[in-house]
């Protein structure tokens, strides 16, 4: 009986943890792209490992931009990266850099996601 009470308590604790860990809103600050003065471009690296880190990048409008994806995660879930607004659907190689060119002619917030739309990231183009 004691064991069962203990199991119940642990289960309740685990559920509480899951709710707190996954459902609590966590917003992260965007990371600004590095400006490359020599050739007037900007680029930013995003590590793909169980999600996109950082999951929000900030770009300057009108400056040609590149996002360099570095996929460490072998999961098939993160194999593709899809930018619906730019018509980009790229397969990311594991443990290699893959560069995606971003059209910065329009300002705004553009979401991107993995091929199954489970993991999300955001590109903010600031005027």
């Amino acid at each position: 009986m004691l064991i069962k009470m203990l199991v119940l308590a642990i289960a309740i604790g685990m559920i509480a943890f899951i709710v707190w860990w996954f459902f609590k809103n966590r917003t992260s600050e965007g990371v600004a792209a590095e400006m490359n003065a020599s050739d007037q471009t900007q680029n930013v690296e995003v590590v793909v490992n169980g999600g996109y880190t950082p999951n929000q990048v900030v770009l300057k409008k009108g400056v040609p931009a590149q996002i360099i994806f570095h996929r460490k995660d072998p999961s098939g879930c993160l194999e593709q990266v899809v930018f619906p607004d730019f018509g980009i659907n790229a397969a990311l190689p594991v443990n290699e850099d893959y560069t995606v060119e971003i059209d910065t002619r329009k300002a705004g917030e553009f979401d991107y996601a993995c091929g199954m739309n489970m993991f999300h990231g955001k590109v903010v183009v600031e005027p």
């Binding site: 069962k4 199991v7 119940l8 289960a11 685990m14 559920i15 899951i18 709710v19 860990w21 996954f22 459902f23 609590k24 966590r26 490992n49 169980g50 999600g51 880190t53 999951n55 460490k72 995660d73 072998p74 999961s75 098939g76 879930c77 993160l78 899809v82 930018f83 619906p84 730019f86 018509g87 980009i88 659907n89 091929g115 199954m116 739309n117 489970m118 993991f119």
Partner: protein
């Protein structure tokens, strides 16, 4: 290590356990017993399952959970519990972990294959491009790679060769197979002045053409770009799915914990059984079927329509096309050919045409070109004329072979009061909204020529097909009511809105939108405002000048029947998306309770292996269902 390799490893190492399971009832045992199973499963866990665990951990650190989380937790629970049970001499279920991994990897391998075939339509389009072109450089034709062809180059095309870029023929003639770009199956005849499209195939003739559009500017490049965007776009219906997917995995974990607690604590089941229920819940609840339901269908649907010369811009347009209740058409150039042609000749055809064509030979008037085209088709040669005189608002008169001749209004007849035996016929033709010109020779009226902008051959069938689908058809035109009504009667349009100024078209569409969702069909250049105002804008193109930006749906061919096909394809694709989502949801809403042991009282339970198999099948069935869109029947012209 690739998914394929991981699958092969787990298959090889789980086979002995599968054989063991089958032969168990006959008293045959795997040598080594439990220890053997432990070793086989350990290899699978380390080689094939570790990537799932690593990915699940990385996602966990980001406060995210995905299907890898479920696979990792499910199999790790089964595996580590079995080690504990083995050391304590209790029954183990190593094979569950092994089989689940094998099935899920099998599912992923098959899914990857099918997804590839769903997305390769764009690649196929790009592969159509010619690799080289024979270009005039310094007075000589030399072969250059495609990317070195520039605007203004004169390109030489031999029989059977691919046309490199878009351009206009400057010398020679041929037939060209344009099916790969426009979907038009019949080869088209081309001669000097006609446009040719890059990547289409030349027939038996040889010709030279001047490059007008190269690189990203070509029609094919634009089509590829549009299809690419469409394939990765999101349908609005996806938003609901995204919301669910976001909380799906953690919710499933909670359900799994609850089922363990309920079985073990409240129903007094053994730890092993309670754990099996919990593991089954975790394994069966794969959200990936939900995730791929919309994108795969969208990919196949838009890819297939592109092959038919129908470009659907994105998922939003596709969804909107389903709600359409009314189709509004522009008249000139959309329902009709857009240029007047001779429809009737009254009197002696040969003589009437000869006189009329001779008089009109140098005129630029659209009516004149209709007459000349007809004369050319009838192989009539023009006679010499003298004393040419154009009379404003009336017509032309001159002398042919010494006798006076005229074409235009009947008033030009020299004997104004001469018996006009054609009066009745003239009136009849005019009532049918045709423009009638009178032809006279040697003081007599010798006949009439009726000219009209006729409907395209496919218009009547297309409108009948739309009406059959329960859609109301409306014609919007700047022409007067009589002409508009005559055309409407010929093609069977329900309603006519005539005398609309070009600038008012968008307003009229706005008004029509109040009663029902509207699709507007027009050409992309003049009708751009109306196209954007309508719920769905369908831009018709012809040749290389397709205003791809103007319509939600762009028809490459200038064929009204493609409107029917476009709506049909959108509907089928959208229906498939809904079907996919329905199955993905049903699968989870039924699968989870069964796996949790809700129906255990009825003897209906799901082992983790079966749950793994079911999960693999769910995503495979969704992708397969999307691929079936390629085979869905369409109304053919």
């Amino acid at each position: 290590m690739s998914i394929q390799k991981r699958f092969v490893v787990s298959l090889i190492f789980s086979l002995p356990m599968l054989i063991n399971m089958v032969l168990m009832p006959f008293g045959v045992q795997l040598p080594g017993g439990t220890w053997m199973m432990f070793m086989l499963t350990t290899v699978i866990m380390v080689v094939s399952a570790l990537p799932f665990l690593r990915s699940a951990w990385a996602a966990f650190l980001n406060h995210q959970a995905n299907m890898d989380t479920l696979v990792a937790i499910g199999t790790a629970t089964a595996y580590f519990y079995s080690i504990y049970a083995m050391l304590n001499g209790q029954s183990v279920f190593f094979e569950s972990a092994a089989f689940v991994i094998t099935f899920i990897l099998l599912g992923q391998v098959l899914e990857a294959r099918m997804k590839k075939s769903a997305s390769n339509s764009v690649q196929k389009l790009l592969n159509l491009q010619a690799k080289e072109a024979e270009v005039m450089r310094d007075g000589e034709f030399i072969r250059v790679p495609l990317n070195q062809v520039v605007v203004g180059d004169i390109v030489h095309v031999k029989p059977g060769q691919k046309i490199a870029v878009d351009g206009v023929i400057t010398e020679g003639h041929s037939t060209v197979d344009e099916s790969m770009v426009t979907g038009e199956s019949m080869p088209t005849t081309k001669s000097v002045g006609d446009e040719v499209i890059g990547s289409t195939i030349n027939g038996t003739g040889t010709f030279l053409f001047e490059a007008r559009k190269v690189g990203d500017e070509t029609l094919l490049a634009q089509i590829v770009e549009m299809v690419k965007k469409a394939q990765v776009s999101h349908a609005p219906i996806q938003k609901t799915v995204d919301k669910i997917a976001g909380i799906f995995v953690p919710t499933v974990l909670i359900i799994a914990i609850l089922s363990f607690v309920i079985w073990y604590v409240f129903l007094g089941a053994s730890v092993v059984n309670a754990m099996l229920f919990a593991v089954s819940v975790v394994i069966i609840a794969c959200p990936c079927a939900l995730g791929i339901a919309t994108p795969t269908a969208l990919m196949v649907g838009t890819g297939r329509s592109a092959k038919l010369g129908i470009l659907i811009k994105n998922g939003e347009v596709l969804e909107a096309a389903n709600t359409i209740k009314m189709v509004v058409f522009d008249k000139t150039g959309t329902i009709t050919e857009g240029k007047p042609v001779v429809t009737d000749i009254i009197g002696d055809e040969q003589q009437v045409l000869t006189i009329a064509a001779s008089l009109e030979a140098d005129s630029e008037h659209p009516l004149a070109s209709a007459i000349l085209a007809k004369a050319k088709a009838a192989q009539i040669s023009v006679s010499l004329i003298e004393n040419f005189e154009a009379i404003e608002g009336l017509g032309i008169q001159a002398r042919i072979a010494g006798k006076p001749a005229f074409v235009g209004r009947e008033k030009l007849a020299s004997d104004g009061d001469a018996a006009d035996e054609f009066a009745e016929q003239r009136q009849e033709l005019q009532q049918a909204a045709k423009t009638v010109v009178t032809v006279g020779y040697a003081g007599q009226i010798i006949g009439l020529i009726a000219i009209q902008d006729v409907p395209k051959p496919s218009s009547k069938r297309a409108i009948a097909a739309l009406k059959q689908r329960g859609l109301r058809t409306v014609m919007l035109t700047g022409d007067n009511a009589r002409v508009a009504q005559a055309i409407a009667d010929q093609v069977g349009i329900d309603e006519v809105v005539a005398d609309v100024l070009p600038s008012d078209k968008a307003d009229r569409v706005e008004q029509l939108k109040e009663s029902a969702p509207v699709a507007f069909v027009g050409d992309g250049i003049n009708d751009a405002p109306a196209l954007t105002t309508a719920d769905v804008g369908i831009a018709m193109g012809s040749g290389t000048d397709i205003a791809i930006e103007s319509g939600g749906i762009v028809l490459v061919k200038n064929d009204l029947f493609d409107v029917v096909r476009a709506l049909e394809l959108s509907q089928q694709t959208f229906r498939r998306i809904k079907l996919n989502l329905f199955w993905a949801f049903i699968y989870n809403t039924l699968g989870i309770p069964i796996a949790a042991g809700l129906f255990a009282g009825l003897g209906l339970i799901l082992s983790p292996e079966l749950a793994g198999l079911g999960m693999a099948l769910s995503s495979i069935s969704v992708v397969a269902s999307s691929l079936l869109l390629n085979r869905a029947k369409l109304t053919t012209a």
